[in-house]
């Protein structure tokens, strides 16, 4: 669609700009301030230059947390995206079951995040939880509070439970927007199901899948409440993802400088990866 050049359009954007700037720019500048200074309390600050950034970038602890974070994000994307697409493909397109499916599937998305954590905690506890009890009864010595491997599995399973529906909803929206004529044409050409998926459904889902991957990437990188409530980052540090580590440094030890530097590095990683992904996926479009 051709757009008219109109500088007065800025007035339409102004309220949004004012609100978001208040919430984003002032706190961000506070973080930048902390990241460049050293404090011993009493509001006395000294210039620290890039000291904190060098410390954080060189620290084993940050590397470990970043490694766990990347592993977590990669794992949930590998599971949730194909699973979400598969479920969307298998869902009915018309009829009374569509609403039932959509409402039930959307339910996990609307549960407060700490309730998700608490729910999975009591679901997975080895003595009183359905999952934990069943696995132990089947002869698997499962205990997510003691065994790092089990903790990982539980955190991943919880995230798949919590967020796959978002991918399903987006993929499903992409699928129902495909006109019937496309399928009829494919039928006349004698296309196999795989060919229909590869050449009709997948291209039509490209836009919503881009959004799904982007949202899941950003949100899984930001995840804090659910694993914190479920495992508290443990056992040991095994499920301490970036946000949990950051809050430990900032509020637990009150090391504002390193925490601020870590925040900025963390934010930049998300920003840069999202921008690259977005730019690559939309390079053929107007914007």
């Amino acid at each position: 669609m051709s757009k008219t050049v109109n500088q007065k359009a800025w007035f339409f954007v102004l309220p949004v700009l004012a609100l978001v700037a208040f919430n984003a720019i002032i706190p961000l500048m506070t973080v930048v301030n902390y990241s460049l200074q050293e404090t011993f309390g009493d509001n006395v600050f000294f210039w620290a230059g890039t000291q904190w950034f060098q410390d954080v970038l060189g620290s084993e602890r940050f590397h470990a947390a970043l490694g766990r974070q990347l592993l977590f994000t990669f794992t949930i994307l590998i599971i949730e995206i194909p699973l979400g697409v598969a479920i969307a493909l298998a869902m009915p397109r018309t009829g009374p079951w569509v609403s039932v499916c959509l409402v039930l599937m959307a339910l996990p998305l609307l549960i407060p995040w700490n309730v998700v954590g608490a729910m999975w905690n009591i679901f997975a506890l080895p003595d009183i939880g359905l999952l934990g009890h069943t696995l132990n009864a089947l002869g698997w010595d499962y205990n997510f509070t003691r065994n790092p491997g089990d903790a990982w599995m539980t955190v991943i399973l919880m995230d798949v439970w919590h967020w796959t529906s978002l991918v399903v909803l987006l993929a499903y929206a992409g699928l129902v927007s495909i006109p019937d004529a496309y399928y009829q044409a494919a039928k006349i050409d004698g296309a196999r199901p795989w060919a229909i998926f590869r050449y009709i459904q997948l291209p039509k889902m490209k836009r919503v899948l881009t959004i799904a991957i982007l949202l899941r990437f950003m949100d899984s990188f930001n995840i804090y409440t659910e694993p914190f409530v479920l495992t508290g980052g443990g056992p040991g540090n095994s499920t301490t993802l970036l946000s949990i580590d950051l809050v430990k440094v900032a509020l637990g030890q009150f090391d504002l400088g390193p925490a601020a530097a870590m925040s900025l590095i963390y934010f930049l990683i998300i920003l840069l990866s999202s921008w690259i992904f977005y730019a690559v996926m939309t390079r053929n479009e107007e914007w």
Partner: protein, 266 residues
């Protein structure tokens, strides 16, 4: 093969319902029964946990507080996002693309990064522990999302609609409120749904910005761990009740969810 496709969504929904069932199951048990015996359904069915929540103001006010700030946030986010989304979908202006991407970057910002400075900011302006503070803070991620969704819907409306209205002598305000907003009603519904959802489920900022007066239910729940040991039954009942507003909202927008995503660019 074609016959078995219903199995996939069915199995998935069973998987989704299992933890929810377990939570409901526990909410009808006493804490002693939860810790004492393992059973698939309550042996001695009790409503005690729910009665506690509905008779104790420190409990039920948590739900009221959450609903207040979520409502303020949804109204605020959607109403300021409407004109902005219109500007992005209809006009070209200096810095439009940069502004749009900058807005989206705020959707990416980890709440953990902003928690402390936002706490200092809202304390400094005297809004700490008010519903407004949480509602305003949540606009940080909800406004970008609302603008993004609404822009998609608006771009799906042909520009000829605008032009025809002006030819017919409508003023801009009149056109926007009387014609344009009803045209994209579905989009507004979807945007409001997402604002509601993300404000309702967020806890880190809501907890950081409140102490007593505006404390959200999700934060109230954390106290079950600290007072008299682990009151699991109460925790389960409180958790079960947090499912209700979401279920109600999703029921109302059920017909828009799939269509809504598809019509808009989102």
């Amino acid at each position: 093969m074609k016959r078995a496709t219903w199995l996939v969504p069915t199995l998935y929904i069973i998987f989704l319902m299992l933890p929810i069932y377990w939570l409901l199951n526990m909410s009808f048990k006493t804490t002693n029964e939860i810790l004492g015996t393992f059973s698939l359904w309550p042996q001695r069915f009790t409503l005690e946990n729910y009665i506690t929540i509905f008779t104790d103001p420190t409990w039920y006010m948590g739900y009221v507080n959450s609903l207040i700030y979520v409502t303020i946030n949804t109204l605020l986010s959607v109403s300021v996002a409407l004109p902005a989304a219109y500007a992005f979908s209809r006009y070209r202006f200096i810095g439009d693309k940069h502004l749009f991407f900058w807005l989206l970057t705020n959707r990416m910002a980890p709440a953990a990064v902003f928690a402390l400075p936002i706490f200092q900011l809202y304390s400094a302006v005297g809004l700490f522990d008010t519903h407004l503070a949480v509602a305003l803070a949540h606009t940080l991620f909800n406004i970008p999302l609302a603008v993004w969704i609404l822009e998609g819907f608006m771009s799906g409306v042909p520009k000829e609609l605008d032009d025809t209205a002006y030819v017919d002598g409508y003023s801009f305000g009149h056109f926007f409120v009387r014609i344009f907003i009803p045209t994209i009603a579905a989009g507004i519904g979807v945007a409001a749904f997402f604002c509601f959802m993300f404000s309702w489920v967020e806890l880190l900022l809501a907890k950081t910005l409140t102490a007593v007066e505006a404390k959200p239910i999700a934060a109230t729940m954390t106290r079950t761990a600290s007072t008299s040991g682990y009151e699991l039954g109460l925790l389960a009942a409180a958790g079960s009740l947090t499912l209700v507003p979401g279920a109600v909202v999703v029921y109302f927008v059920r017909n828009y969810i799939a269509k809504g995503f598809a019509l808009g660019r989102v």
